[in-house]
């Protein structure tokens, strides 16, 4: 009796071992996939920063703000905050690029937030199921438009329209770019914000209705506040994407590296700057490293924004699981 039991147990253990081995193997394979993607990100980080710091071999950190340059016209030294990489005295100030990036990304985020949150509220709270079923794939389709196509439409049509309406000095300017970028980041913002609102339990809506709230009172008083962390995560993530968007801004913003706060001025963003210049620069030069430095700064920005939004989303998921 005992022996029999032992025997069967032995056998059981053997068959189990086989299973356990294949499971072990698959588990390790997946682990490797996970580790390698993290590793790749770490390597990109490392490579980018390794190249970027080389800039300081020949230049000082003050050069990132501006340079004193002798001005032939005014016949005295003037302080120039310019990005002028091809010049007798090359200037690598990041200030005009910051101006450009933020002057595009801020308005783009605001436009996309208003449209995106509105659309998310409609989809999650108001749309009849049939309309929702039509709209959801349409939004996914929008996400699939290549950014070069959006850029082209902005460049060819919207720019003219905006110049006619606002009588702007530059046909291609930050605002035109912002409109295009808003379009590009809209789908992801809608998706995240809508998910957040749909995750609000039905019980909370019922509680609100049972107290005599109307649909709108329930949306503003219960659903949106309960989903606020998810909605802010959507906005932050959208902002990160807007900062990183390249093709649309390259095509639609005019690419003049100006220090300006005027939304209708031509600007050059960090991304467009890299895209436009990196192809024609000699490796190992100061200019080359300067571009890497811009890339490192940009990466730091977008990485931080993504990180923050991921933390917020995780917290929200934990809170709602309760």
């Amino acid at each position: 009796m005992r022996k029999e039991m032992l025997g069967s147990m032995e056998q059981h253990r053997l068959t189990k071992k086989k299973e356990v081995f294949s499971e072990w193997f698959i588990e390790k394979l997946l682990l490797m996939a996970g580790i390698s993607s993290t590793l790749i990100i770490a390597l990109i980080f490392l490579f980018l920063f390794k190249e970027a710091v080389q800039f300081f071999k020949t230049a000082g950190s003050f050069d990132l703000i501006g340079k004193w340059v002798y001005d032939d016209w005014e016949e005295r030294n003037v302080f120039k905050m310019m990005w002028q990489s091809i010049s007798e005295v090359p200037k690598y100030s990041l200030i005009p690029l910051f101006c450009g990036s933020f002057l595009v990304a801020f308005p783009a985020t605001i436009i996309a937030s208003v449209l995106g949150i509105g659309c998310a509220i409609y989809l999650s709270e108001l749309a009849p199921p049939k309309v929702r079923e039509m709209l959801k794939p349409t939004i996914e389709l929008l996400a699939g438009i290549p950014s070069v196509v959006i850029g082209f439409i902005m460049l060819a049509f919207l720019a003219t329209f905006i110049q006619d309406v606002f009588h702007t000095k530059f046909r291609l300017n930050a605002f035109v770019g912002a409109c295009g970028v808003a379009l590009a980041v809209l789908p992801i913002m809608i998706t995240i914000a809508e998910d957040a609102m749909r995750a609000v339990p039905k019980e909370l809506r019922d509680a609100s209705y049972a107290l005599g709230a109307t649909k709108w009172q329930t949306i503003w008083g219960t659903v949106v506040p309960a989903a606020v962390s998810g909605i802010s995560a959507a906005v932050i993530l959208g902002f990160g994407r807007a900062l990183g968007e390249t093709m649309i801004v390259l095509m639609a913003t005019g690419n003049a590296a100006l220090v300006t706060g005027n939304i209708f001025s031509s600007v050059r963003t960090m991304t467009a700057n890299i895209a436009a210049e990196l192809g024609s620069v000699a490796q190992g030069t100061e200019h080359y490293y300067a571009l890497f430095l811009v890339g490192a700064v940009l990466f730091t920005f977008t990485f931080t924004l993504n990180f923050i939004s991921e933390i917020i989303l995780n917290k929200m998921r934990q809170k709602l699981r309760m």
């Binding site: 339990p201 019980e203 909370l204 809506r205 019922d206 509680a207 609100s208 209705y209 049972a210 107290l211 005599g212 709230a213 109307t214 009172q217 008083g221 219960t222 506040p225 309960a226 809170k319 309760m322």
Partner: protein
């Protein structure tokens, strides 16, 4: 008063210390039918619910207790495909007539749910939610309402020093009393409760039952319960539902000691259900 139920050997304390015959009718239900799409969930219900009394709805799971309860404050309106025939008169007004303002109706007929559902807001904001909806913005008035409601719900002493903390930090039982306070804050006349204690421990359940007993002096209460003892303890009237029909309805003491129908007797004595 202790009553031995029929031949089951169980004894129950039945609520019987008040003459209810003089109470006026608060809710009058006539020939009520309710459909979820093509499926009929309620069949020709007639019921007369007395003012300032507790009416318990009992019956096996899925028999339509919650559905019936939700017809009384039109919460079924929020369910797609739900339809209704027949009349529900509250104070002689048909609540399904087109002139009725549903927001006002729901304020008058409050509801407490099976699973406690406080908003993820502070204790104060939970109670103030209803009054704010209906236009109260004065801080002093709101503070007064919050205090009064919490006192009526027997929660004030436990939370008075932390009104600004999150409602979700309270225990389950406290959260349910908070939900009751939230309903009281809009000054209802009728309170509907759908198995309000089914997710709570015995001690919290006892507190809720005590509270119901107190509230009954000023409010008309309709409570769904799974628990026979609870129905016997807290209610004045009992309605037994089975498969969408009202099988028996009467004074709790009569339904529990001397039911008219065999099915009721079987259910109450636990022979079925």
């Amino acid at each position: 008063m202790e009553i031995k139920i029929l031949n089951s050997g169980k004894t129950l304390r039945v609520n019987q210390d008040q003459d209810l015959s003089s109470n006026t009718t608060k809710i009058l239900v006539r020939d009520l039918e309710m459909f979820y799409g093509p499926v009929r969930a309620l069949h020709g219900i007639d019921m007369e619910i007395k003012e300032k009394a507790v009416t318990a709805l009992i019956g096996p799971s899925g028999c339509g207790k919650s559905t019936f309860l939700r017809t009384l404050n039109r919460m079924n309106d929020t369910i797609p495909g739900a339809r209704i025939h027949g009349t529900v008169l509250i104070d002689d007004v048909n609540i399904y007539s087109p002139e009725v303002n549903v927001a006002v109706l729901r304020r008058m007929v409050g509801m407490v749910f099976q699973k406690q559902n406080p908003f993820p807001k502070s204790i104060f904001d939970n109670i103030a939610y209803g009054p704010r909806l209906h236009g109260v913005i004065d801080k002093a008035v709101l503070e007064h309402i919050v205090e009064e409601s919490l006192k009526k719900a027997a929660l004030w002493n436990e939370v008075k020093d932390r009104l600004q903390t999150g409602a979700l930090e309270l225990s389950g039982g406290q959260q349910q009393r908070l939900c009751i306070a939230r309903v009281l804050a809009v000054n209802p006349e009728i309170i509907l409760m759908d198995e309000p204690a089914s997710a709570l421990d015995p001690l919290s359940t006892a507190k809720i039952e005590e509270l119901i007993y107190e509230l009954r002096k000023n409010y008309t209460i309709v409570i769904v319960t799974h628990n026979m003892q609870q129905a016997a303890r807290v209610s004045d009237f009992t309605a037994y539902f089975y498969m969408g029909s009202l099988v028996e309805f009467g004074l709790t003491k009569d339904v529990f000691t001397n039911p008219l129908k065999k099915e009721t007797e079987d259910y109450i004595t636990g022979r079925f259900g």
